[in-house]
């Protein structure tokens, strides 16, 4: 399991970095899918198979497909890629990256103060469902409302 976790982690990292430095949208999307799938594997390794499923199906599947459709509709060609290269000047990203690196240091600093090991105990669908349809019912309803709103908004916005 440890092995699974670290390999998946490395894959996720590489894929993610590839996403943000890639110039081709479609390539980036594929890397993103890989990243998401590796996160799904991590979930599995952490004993959250349900979450892993959802990650694979909803994120890597549904959401990314949505992206793909849009890519196709926009039909961004070679010019966009050239533009992207032009925009990737070090002077443009060095500042934000430094700032963010600082943030990472801070967060790591906070996280490393504790030392607890994770015991991957599987949390199944049942427990989640009990919670979802128990104390969190209202949140679920709100989420559904959110999705509905997203649906309506997306429909309206994408309309001509």
């Amino acid at each position: 399991m440890i092995f699974l976790f670290y390999t998946a982690a490395i894959v996720a990292l590489i894929a993610t970095i590839a996403v943000i430095i890639s110039t081709n949208v479609v390539h980036a999307l594929v890397y993103l899918i890989i990243s998401l799938l590796s996160v799904a594997v991590i979930f599995f390794a952490l004993g959250a198979p349900f979450a892993a499923m959802l990650e694979a199906i909803v994120y890597a599947g549904a959401i990314m497909v949505l992206f793909l459709f849009v890519m196709m509709m926009l039909n961004l060609g070679q010019t966009t890629q050239d533009e992207e290269k032009e925009w990737m000047q070090p002077r443009l990203w060095i500042g934000p990256v430094t700032l963010v690196a600082l943030l990472l240091v801070q967060m790591t600093n906070v996280l490393l103060t504790q030392d607890v090991d994770l015991r991957p105990i599987e949390v199944g669908v049942l427990e989640i469902s009990v919670l979802l349809f128990g104390p969190w019912l209202l949140a679920v309803e709100l989420a559904s409302m959110l999705l509905l709103a997203g649906l309506v908004a997306a429909y309206h916005l994408a309309k001509k």
Binding site: L99, Q106, M107
Partner: protein, 632 residues
């Protein structure tokens, strides 16, 4: 009759109201009938009241018309108080006033604003009567301000000329300075004595204040401030010469006979207060002395006929102040009366000269008017003689009394007397200079300057009887007015003991001779055949010597007081006002708005509209907040 005392100011006031309501549409006959008639009625009433009052033998008489203000301890009414002093004043005001109104119907006959003129004149007479009749200081203040207003309106009567407006404003503002001092004096009196009724004050003050106490000094000094302003004494005398911008009857009525003597009246009325403050009383004497000398020297140098008379008025009121200062109350009032006669006469006569020369004021452009204007000439002679106090004229008796009283002053008697005599000498010099230059010598009047279409023969005397009758009456009074005795002894009963002074025969004779000497010197300088040759040469040399030239300019400018005030006060005020035209407070408040707007424009730079910029600032904020939390 006495019970109708309220009608005294009511007649002229009614005249004022009628004339105002007519809005200039009334015929001139009707307007002059109302204007002069109302004052005439007042005079008749004043005479009847006087007769009754004098026959009754009462000391005083008072009547409340209605309650004016009654707040707490303050209880003032529209109440009139009549005693000997008031009696003299109302007779002068309504009598001389009536004569001058009569004169004005002729003098102003060609003026389109005839009715307006008489309305202001009537308002003036009404205010002046209220001033002298008032039994409390607030009502007196009403009259006091009322006459000031009328003076303003009448000086600026020919309003289209800005110079007249300037003179009028100057008169009002300068006297207002004195008025304010007087108002503060009223506040002080009320807060200390709890009353503003004059008779009560005169009783209360000696009982509450000891002689020379600080309050008495302060109160009388403040009242003196008011008197100095109104009576054009140092240091507030600068307005009176400029006030000559008004029509000549105004100068006669307001700026010679009545209003300017209000200060004298005020001090005489409140003499008890001044007796409680000997230092202030002495100050009165020295103010009078300084003023009479200053004005005498200045009058010597003037070219404008009316300005000469104006300075002579200042000087004569200086004599009255001198008399007040040495406690010769009734002498002051006596001189007030005789001065009203001869100065009104001089002004009215000057008016006829001016009118016949088409409003020419420069005496050196006149000359040889003796044959052309005989009546004016004789009036001038009589008036100047009285002014100079030549023996047996009215001015002689009054000025004699003043100088004798001054000499009797225990400490400064000789100084005051010498000053007064020197003043008398100057008076003789300048008044006969005026007579000689205007009426003798050769004519310098160039008619084409003033009125191109008239030939030289246009210099004729206006023969309207309305103008001559007052002149004759006043000339009579100037000559024989000294025989009238003013019934004021009862008013000043408790004081004025040192009026009957014993004086050496030598000094007395000197005193009588010095004016005559002055007249003779004046003749040498200006009157001797033809003065251009001998006198002019002498004068030329005097003026050309450095000291003489400087003195000439210095005296001509009224001892530089105008210039001093102009620089020190007027310019400073104007500068201050114009610097702060925009109101610095407003700027301060707008400043907050400006700072807000500036901050806005600075902060708006952070709103680039660029999403990444917002995200970066968000992250930066996050870094800082976490940093604060973690590395605290």
């Amino acid at each position: 009759m006495q019970n109708w005392i309220g009608l005294l100011p009511a007649f002229p006031l009614a005249g004022f109201v009628l004339l105002v309501l007519s809005r200039g549409r009334m015929s001139k006959t009707a307007a002059s009938f109302i204007g002069a008639g109302s004052v005439g009625l007042a005079f008749v009433l004043a005479v009847l009241i006087s007769i009754e009052f004098l026959n009754s033998g009462a000391q005083s008489f008072s009547k409340t018309l209605w309650v004016w203000m009654q707040v707490g301890e303050l209880d003032t009414g529209f109440s009139f108080y009549l005693d000997g002093l008031t009696l003299v004043m109302i007779l002068i005001i309504s009598g001389v006033g009536f004569l001058i109104h009569l004169y004005s119907t002729g003098f102003m006959a060609d003026d389109p604003d005839f009715a307006r003129f008489f309305s202001y004149m009537n308002l003036f007479v009404a205010s002046m009567l209220v001033l002298v009749l008032a039994d409390n200081l607030i009502l007196l203040y009403l009259g006091w301000e009322g006459v000031g207003l009328c003076s303003y309106l009448l000086i600026g009567f020919w309003y289209q000329n800005p110079a007249n407006g300037y003179a009028a404003r100057k008169a009002f503002v300068v006297t207002r300075v004195g008025d304010t001092s007087m108002a503060i004096g009223l506040f002080l009196l009320f807060s200390q004595l709890g009353s503003l009724n004059i008779q009560e004050i005169l009783v209360l003050a000696p009982s509450q204040w000891s002689t020379g106490s600080g309050m008495a000094v302060a109160a009388s000094a403040l009242l003196l401030g008011g008197a100095v302003g109104k009576s054009a004494q140092l240091p507030l005398q600068t307005w009176l010469p400029d006030a000559m911008a008004g029509p000549t009857p105004i100068s006669a009525l307001i700026h010679a006979a009545t209003m300017v003597t209000a200060g004298v009246y005020l001090i005489a009325r409140t003499h008890v207060l001044f007796e409680l403050a000997p230092s202030v009383q002495l100050l009165v004497a020295f103010v009078g002395l300084a003023t009479l000398l200053m004005a005498g020297f200045t009058a010597m140098m003037q070219r404008d006929i009316k300005r000469i008379l104006a300075y002579s008025t200042i000087s004569q009121i200086g004599y009255m102040f001198l008399a007040l200062g040495v406690g010769a109350w009734s002498a002051a009032v006596f001189h007030l009366m005789t001065h009203a006669f001869f100065k009104a006469l001089l002004f009215l006569a000057a008016g006829t000269v001016i009118l016949s020369l088409h409003h020419e004021h420069d005496i050196f452009k006149m000359g040889a008017m003796r044959r052309r204007l005989p009546v004016s000439f004789w009036c001038f002679i009589v008036g100047s003689a009285a002014l100079t106090a030549l023996p047996f004229t009215s001015g002689f008796y009054s000025k004699d009394a003043i100088l004798l009283a001054a000499l009797a002053h225990p400490t400064y008697g000789m100084l005051l007397w010498v000053g007064g005599v020197l003043g008398a000498f100057m008076t003789a010099l300048y008044s006969f200079r005026l007579v000689f230059v205007v009426f003798f010598g050769s004519s310098h009047y160039a008619a084409h300057e003033a009125a191109p279409h008239d030939d030289h023969a246009a210099v004729v005397e206006n023969t309207s009887p309305a103008m001559f009758f007052p002149l004759l009456i006043l000339a009579g009074l100037s000559l024989f007015g000294g025989l009238i005795s003013v019934p004021v002894d009862a008013v000043f009963a408790q004081s004025g003991v040192h009026e009957e002074a014993h004086v050496s025969q030598f000094l007395h004779t000197l005193m009588i001779l010095i004016p005559i000497l002055g007249v003779m010197i004046s003749w040498l300088l200006y009157g001797s055949v033809p003065y251009e040759k001998a006198g002019a040469h002498l004068r030329q040399r005097l003026v050309q010597s450095p000291l003489g030239g400087w003195l000439n300019r210095f005296w001509f400018s009224g001892w530089g007081m105008d210039k001093l005030y102009q620089t020190l006060l007027v310019q400073a005020f104007l500068m201050l006002a114009h610097i702060n035209r925009k109101d610095v407070i407003d700027i301060a408040f707008n400043g907050t708005a400006f700072v807000a707007r500036f901050a806005n424009s600075a902060l708006v730079l952070t709103q680039t509209g660029n999403m990444r910029w917002y995200a970066i600032s968000l992250v930066a904020g996050l870094v800082i907040v976490i940093g604060l939390g973690v590395f605290r």
